[in-house]
């Protein structure tokens, strides 16, 4: 919403400066987007007369002018290249030192082909008033008495333009008058009475019939439609002052008849339409459209209508969309002799739906979908008639009104004490009354113990209840006057507030960062092809209106985003990436289908111990065990002992089938997956191997058992533990975990730890399909030291247990 200062002053009697007005507007909820003051940039330009114009001695295209820049003062010599510069003309002069907005240059004293120019005669383009740079501005001869005065003042350009970004609840402020009313309430002046109109109602009946053709259940689409016929108009350009204002707010002047409707729309927030009455066939009616109908819009495009849209039609079919756009075929032109002025009220919701369906963004829609004042139908029609009569002449008919304007006015029982209760702001009741009345509310008499009766004006469809009135008073008094009041504290030291899941998310994040991984935040939506690669891509999880195909499907896992991020980093020269993310992914569209995962990707030679080549050790490729270690570390730090979980060979298909695994608790609960990424996926994503990954499904983890804060007593034997090594020869497909479990189970009380210190799979063993596994078993004697015999006995038990479980023999 744009307006100029002078336009505002039509409605507001004020001495406030532009700055004061802008500050107040922003404070009361009418946020100022911009203030443009032409005087600020064009103040130095003055009106001057060319007294003499001679050919430049050294340049064919230049002339040397003698310019009168102030009556009676010596003439200035100015070099000028404009073809229209000639003796006697009035133009616009810029003295040396002036910044020329159109060219960005500041004028300096320097010779032009040998002759010093003491300033410049300017084109409209140089002043950024139009695109015209062909010649210099020709000032109207009747301004010859204003030589030396500011050009912006002389032609009425000295009118700052204010643009307000309106919130959707304020249809009343889509007109300058509504803004003036708010400013008056805020103490910045007095609202002037509405413009007094002359006689606009004619004596003859309107020759064109106006009808509402709705079924009872759709009658609210357009409850009132009024029109007045004006006979014998002469439609030409509107007066300069009106054109100037329209241009200042970004509207293109077209003709007096059209300009009047646009002017009133911006002045009062009351859209209107004018028809060339001679082009109408039969009655003008408001009705719903029929599927298959269309019309040619004022913008020259054809629009199809359907049976939800409110159209204005005549016998020939739809002419335009009610509340949105008129039609080209029946619009007023310079040739129009007889005009029908329309003033109606269209339902905001239907207007919004139609607007969205057609994609039409117009000034009328902007106003009707917010809710035009229904009581403005007749005043708008009358004002339009008056302006048309004044500019185009003609004879008006009586107004023809179909239907009746809805009367939305309602009353609110308002307890002024609720202002303090809701806002913390103490406002005197007299101030409350003054503010609400200035905004157009009608207040009943105050009586002790009873709420006030407040009648809402027809232009405020946004005010429904007591809370809205509190807002009106608070925003006008000033929200900055609300006193800061400490929120009462719960007594004592603050209690912890995080849920277990929230704590786990934090711990997972810190665990992975502590392992040298870098946290990324990647998009929740990924390309559908990628979602499919990672076991997702269900149509139900596709966005209907994605921003691009690369962001079209909700991610089934975090890995796609991390792998493509790793690729981008590799392309920038960082191929040893260790990226992780802790966040949500989606198995379906229901709330329970969303799950939290801590996932990571390592590429190149990234390990927890460091990446890349180093003098201290060989740079090995990241492998499945790096991923397993990361997943196990997360589990351990989230209270799940990974050694107690089963490790199974059934990771999802996007992992390498032989080099991946799943941590699980029983058959149902999947804790984590880890492994190399399947080479097929790497090829599809153009990620270079090696790339390993893991996902810990935090949402799946069983709740931590509530442990006592006190630790169990330390129960350690004073006797030295001792370690015995065993080398087993096993079939190469025997899992080390099975061997370890068998050894561990051989004597639960004495065996404290079993670890694998060596694996040998080469040479002759490999030919036989065998491998050798070196197992270190740590024994913790309890109560008494172990004799050689005892140790021998345990060793035999271990050998027997391993043999029984895996067929492994001690290597000889």
């Amino acid at each position: 919403m744009k307006f100029t200062l002078s336009w505002l002053k039509d409605h507001l009697d004020t001495t406030a400066s532009v700055d004061e007005i802008a500050t107040t507007l922003s404070a009361i909820g009418l946020e100022v987007e911009s203030v443009e003051d032409p005087a600020a940039t064009l103040g130095a330009f003055t009106i001057a007369r060319v007294v003499e114009a001679k050919q430049h001695p050294n340049a064919d295209r230049l002339r040397v002018l003698q310019v009168e820049i102030e009556a009676g003062k010596p003439l200035m010599e100015v070099v000028c290249g404009a073809p229209n510069a000639r003796e006697g003309m009035l133009g616009v002069f810029a003295p040396l030192g002036t910044h020329i907005p159109g060219s960005g240059i500041t004028l300096e004293k320097k010779p032009v082909r040998g002759i010093v120019s003491n300033g410049m005669m300017c084109s409209a383009a140089e002043l950024q008033l139009s695109e015209d740079s062909e010649g210099i501005i020709e000032v109207e001869a009747d301004l010859k008495d204003r030589i030396g005065s500011r050009y912006v003042d002389a032609i009425g350009l000295n009118d700052p333009v204010i643009e307000v970004s309106l919130t959707p609840n304020r249809p009343d402020c889509t007109g300058v008058r509504g803004i003036a009313r708010d400013l008056a309430a805020a103490g910045l002046g007095t609202l002037k009475p509405p413009r007094a109109l002359g006689k606009v109602e004619g004596t003859s009946d309107c020759p064109i019939d106006i009808k509402l053709e709705f079924s009872p259940d759709t009658a609210d689409a357009c409850p009132v439609f009024a029109g007045r016929y004006v006979k014998g108009v002469k439609n030409a350009a509107s007066p300069a002052w009106m054109q100037q204002r329209l241009k200042a707010v970004g509207l293109r002047p077209i003709s007096a008849l059209v300009d009047v409707t646009n002017y009133i729309s911006n002045d009062l927030g009351r859209p209107l339409h004018v028809y060339d009455a001679d082009k109408l066939k039969g009655a003008v009616r408001a009705r719903l459209g029929n599927d298959g109908e269309n019309f040619l819009g004022l913008d020259g495009k054809t629009y199809n209508v359907d049976n939800t849209m409110c159209v204005i039609a005549d016998d020939s079919g739809p002419l335009g969309l009610g509340g949105i756009m008129g039609g080209e075929d029946t619009g007023a032109t310079e040739a129009t002799k007889n005009v029908l002025i329309e003033s109606a009220w269209f339902d905001p919701v239907r207007t919004a739906i139609t607007g969205r369906k057609t994609g039409l963004i117009t000034d009328a829609r902007y106003r009707f979908e917010r809710g035009v004042d229904p009581q403005s139908v007749m005043p708008g029609l009358d004002l339009a008639t008056e302006l048309v009569l004044g500019m185009c002449g003609g004879t008006p008919s009586k107004a023809k009104v179909a239907g009746a304007a809805p009367d939305p006015q309602h009353e609110i029982a308002f307890d002024p004490a609720s202002i303090a209760a809701r806002s913390g702001l103490d406002v005197a009741e007299s101030d409350t009354r003054r503010i609400l009345e200035a905004l157009g509310f009608t207040l009943g008499k105050a009586s002790k113990g009873k709420p006030l009766t407040v009648k809402v004006p027809s232009w405020r469809p946004d005010v429904h209840g007591s809370a809205d009135l509190v807002e009106e008073v608070v925003r006008i008094v000033g929200i900055d006057k609300v006193p800061s009041t400490p929120l009462p504290r719960v007594p004592g030291v603050a209690r912890p507030v995080l849920t277990e899941l929230q704590r786990r998310v934090r711990r997972a994040r810190r665990t992975l960062a502590a392992r040298g991984m870098v946290e990324a935040v990647t998009w929740s939506f990924i390309p559908k092809t990628e979602a499919q690669m990672f076991g997702g891509g269900d149509d139900a999880l596709d966005l209907s209106n994605p921003i691009s195909v690369d962001m079209s499907s909700m991610r089934p896992t975090l890995l796609a985003g991390l792998l493509t991020a790793a690729r981008r980093n590799a392309n920038r020269g960082f191929s040893d990436a260790a990226l992780f993310e802790v966040g949500q992914a989606y198995r379906g569209i229901h709330p329970d289908d969303q799950y939290i995962s801590a996932a990571g990707v390592r590429t190149g030679s990234s390990h927890a111990s460091g990446a890349g080549r180093h003098w201290s050790g060989k740079a090995a490729a990241a492998d499945v065990f790096d991923a397993k270690a990361d997943a196990a570390a997360v589990l351990a730090n989230l209270g799940i002992d990974p050694a107690k979980a089963q490790v199974t060979r059934d990771a999802p298909a996007y992992y390498h089938p032989g080099r991946s695994g799943t941590f699980r608790l029983g058959p149902k609960v999947v804790l984590a997956h880890f492994g190399e990424i399947n080479p097929r996926i790497l090829t599809a994503l153009v990620v270079e191997a090696p790339a390993v990954a893991f996902e810990v499904i935090i949402s799946n983890l069983p709740p931590e058992k509530r442990k006592a804060r006190a630790r169990p007593p330390l129960d350690e034997s004073d006797l030295m533990p001792l370690t015995r090594d065993f080398a087993f020869v096993l079939n190469s497909d025997v899992a080390a975990g099975d061997v370890m479990r068998a050894a561990q189970g051989a004597d639960k009380s004495l065996i404290r730890d079993v670890s694998v210190f060596d694996i040998f799979e080469g040479g002759k063993l490999a030919e036989e399909g065998k491998k050798s596994l070196g197992l270190a078993v740590t024994l913790q004697p309890q109560g008494q030291t172990l004799t050689d015999k005892d140790i021998e006995a345990i060793s035999e038990k271990i050998k027997a247990a391993v043999k029984k479980a895996t067929g492994g023999e001690i290597r000889s």
Partner: protein, 355 residues
């Protein structure tokens, strides 16, 4: 063997010891002198042949020699050992200019969004706010209708909503455009008093220089019988002061949101980013609209309260001088290493959020 012979023997042995330059040779000397068949034990064996009256004196003399020789051996051994160590140390050298690995805790990083979320959680936890969460894929009802945004309300247009295809019931789910549906879920589940914050991902169908289709918001909700706008103002002021770790000037500007009444925009003085004289918009706030309470089964005659919301990414940008929102989600390692946080930077109130 006379006393002078004994003397000569002693002198000889001591000279041998002194002449030795290696530990091995010293050991030979020790064996020759004190070993089982060494000179001194040999002498001791002759003791029995002496007349009893000489035996004692001679025995004592031999023992004295033995003691002195032993001491000389020990002293010389220590000396040789020290010299040997000296020599070894002189040859053992590491190139201490070789670089060491910096270690995982120096490599890892926490994303600024996570860090700032944790900072805000610390602040609000201290003020007694719990953290509430909800799904990203929401119903139209929770994202809009219950928040007093009816179907064709113009403010829906401002939300640039991502939609899913309609389900069997013709219902279109949305990606939440704000974390406000979490407020709705909380109010439907919990009776007042309520104090929560709702941080999380939100989505708008908008992408340009300063907008990304996904970003992060934090909202706060307080519902009880007495909380008013003054409390709202104080809470935001305190939060800003604690978050920016400096005094921050704040102002509220009247505005409009369908779910609050009165509503305001929150501006802070740009001094915090070294641009005095300007104001920065950081979020919106207001008193929860009575219709919203009603929609959640809370009696608006009895209960009232405030809500506010801010962009977490934007807060991170302002506090830590991060210029470009779009870079937050690019996972560029150079950016993450530069703007990310050490794993040891755990935000807390006692040490300061960012120290």
């Amino acid at each position: 063997m006379t006393t002078s012979d004994l003397d000569t023997l002693e002198q000889g042995l001591l000279a041998d010891i002194a002449g030795v330059t290696s530990l091995d040779a010293l050991e030979q000397v020790r064996i020759a002198a004190l070993g089982k068949k060494g000179r001194i034990p040999e002498l001791m064996q002759t003791l029995g042949k002496l007349p009893p009256d000489e035996r004692k004196a001679f025995g004592q003399a031999v023992n004295a020699v033995k003691t002195r020789v032993s001491e000389a051996l020990d002293t010389h051994k220590s000396r040789l050992e020290a010299a040997a160590l000296e020599q070894r140390l002189a040859t053992e050298r590491a190139d201490i200019t070789l670089p060491v690995r910096s270690g995982p805790e120096a490599e890892g990083r926490i994303h600024p969004v996570s860090q700032v979320m944790e900072e805000l959680a610390e602040i609000f936890a201290d003020m007694g706010f719990a953290i509430a969460e909800g799904p990203d894929i929401e119903t139209d009802d929770y994202n809009f209708t219950k928040l007093n945004i009816p179907a064709e309300h113009p403010s829906r247009q401002d939300h640039d909503t991502f939609y899913f295809a309609p389900n069997e019931a013709g219902e279109r789910l949305v990606l939440r455009t704000h974390t406000s549906p979490v407020q709705i879920r909380t109010m439907l589940r919990q009776k007042p008093p309520i104090r929560i914050i709702a941080p999380g991902r939100v989505y708008r169908c908008d992408s340009d220089q300063t907008h990304t289709p996904m970003f992060h918001q934090i909202e706060a909700l307080v519902i009880d019988e007495h909380t008013h706008m003054g409390h709202l103002k104080w809470t935001i002021e305190e939060m800003c002061r604690a978050f920016f770790e400096t005094d921050v000037k704040m102002r509220l500007r009247a505005s409009y949101f369908p779910f609050t009444e009165p509503s305001a925009e929150i501006d802070i003085a740009a001094d915090v980013i070294g641009k005095p004289g300007k104001w920065l918009e950081i979020g919106g706030c207001g008193m929860v609209h009575p219709n919203v309470l009603k929609n959640c089964g809370i009696d608006p005659e009895k209960y009232q309260g405030f809500a506010f919301g801010m962009g977490i990414d934007r807060m991170a940008m302002l506090k830590y001088g991060i210029p470009d929102l779009r870079a937050f989600f690019n996972a560029d390692l150079r950016w993450l290493k530069h703007y990310g946080f050490s794993v040891l930077d755990v935000p807390g109130l006692s040490a300061g959020l960012s120290s």
